[in-house]
C-alpha cells in the first residue's frame, strides 16, 4: 500500500498507532460499502483494490448510479462520518476485491483526545483530504458552469 494520506507526515510509530485503530474489512467484487443516506459512523482507508463512489442520476427515464470518483490504495474515504449530520452523500462500491481499514468515529475521536500530539496532525490530514476534494469539485463545477454559459450565449 502506498503511504496512506491519513497518516501523512506522522512519525512511523505514531502512524502505526493510528493504523492499529483500524479494523480490517474485506469486500468482494460488487459489494457495497455504504449507500447514499446511510448513517456514517466510520472512516475507511483503502489497503488494496479500489472503491467507486457513485451518485444517482435520472438517465433515459430511470435512476442509474453514475461513478463520480474512484479511489485506490492509500486513500481515505467516508469523511462524512466526521462531519454532522453523519450521513453518507454517495454510494461506495468495490468494483474488485478490496481490503480496507475501518476506523470507528468514536474510537478515532477518543484516541485523538487522548493523544493530541498525534490528533492534531491527523486532523490536518483529514482537513487536507476534505479540502482537496472540495477544491477539485469547485473547479469541476466552475468548468461546467462556464460551458453552460458559453452554450447559452453561443
Amino acid at each position: 500500500m502506498p503511504p496512506p494520506d491519513l497518516v501523512h507526515g506522522l512519525p512511523a510509530a505514531d502512524a502505526a498507532a493510528v493504523l492499529a485503530l483500524g479494523v480490517p474489512r474485506e469486500l468482494s467484487p460488487g459489494e457495497v460499502l455504504f449507500r447514499l443516506g446511510d448513517r456514517a459512523d466510520a472512516v475507511y482507508l483503502i489497503r488494496s483494490g479500489r472503491i467507486s463512489l457513485a451518485l444517482p442520476m435520472r438517465l433515459a427515464g430511470r435512476d442509474q448510479d453514475v461513478v463520480v470518483e474512484e479511489y485506490e490504495p492509500g486513500h481515505t474515504l467516508g469523511w462524512s462520518a466526521l462531519i454532522p449530520p453523519h450521513r453518507f452523500t454517495l454510494t461506495a462500491t468495490a468494483p474488485l476485491a478490496t481490503s480496507l481499514l475501518e476506523f470507528d468515529r468514536e474510537r478515532l475521536r477518543a484516541f485523538c483526545a487522548a493523544h493530541p500530539a498525534i490528533g492534531y496532525p491527523l486532523a490536518l490530514n483529514i482537513a487536507a483530504v476534505v479540502g482537496g476534494r472540495l477544491q477539485v469539485f469547485q473547479a469541476m463545477w466552475l468548468r461546467e458552469m462556464q460551458r453552460t454559459v458559453d452554450n447559452a450565449h453561443a
Partner: protein, 103 residues
C-alpha cells in the same frame, strides 16, 4: 379437325400475347419494386442486421451507454480539475478535455 386447328391457333396466339404483355409489365415493374423493397436506411448506406437493429442516427441512447459517457466525462474533468488544484491558474481552469460531453 378445322375447328380443332382454329382453337389451337387461337390458344397459341393467346399464349404469345400473354407472354409479350407479361414481359413488358415485368420490365416496367422491376425498378419500382426494387426501390420499394430497399428501406431508406439501406439506401442511405446504414448497416442493418436483418432489419432489426435500430438506425444509428437519431436513436435514443440507452441509460447504460449514457452512464458510461458521463463517467468518462467525469474522469476527464476530474483530472483537469486536479491539475488546476495542483497548479492553480486561469489557463488550467479552462483547459479543454477530450470529452464529447464537454462541447
Amino acid at each position: 379437325m378445322q375447328l380443332f386447328l382454329m382453337v389451337l391457333a387461337l390458344s397459341l396466339v393467346g399464349v404469345l400475347v400473354s407472354g409479350v404483355l407479361f414481359a413488358a409489365a415485368s420490365r416496367e415493374a422491376q425498378p419500382a419494386e426494387r426501390a420499394a423493397l430497399v428501406s431508406p436506411a439501406i439506401a442511405a448506406g446504414e448497416e442493418r442486421f436483418f432489419m432489426m437493429r435500430p438506425p444509428v442516427s437519431g436513436a435514443p441512447v440507452s441509460a447504460d451507454v449514457l452512464a458510461l459517457q458521463i463517467e468518462r466525462h467525469v474522469r476527464l474533468e476530474q483530472a483537469a480539475a486536479e491539475r488546476f488544484h495542483q497548479f492553480p491558474s486561469v489557463e488550467a481552469l479552462r483547459t479543454p478535455t477530450l470529452s464529447p460531453l464537454a462541447g
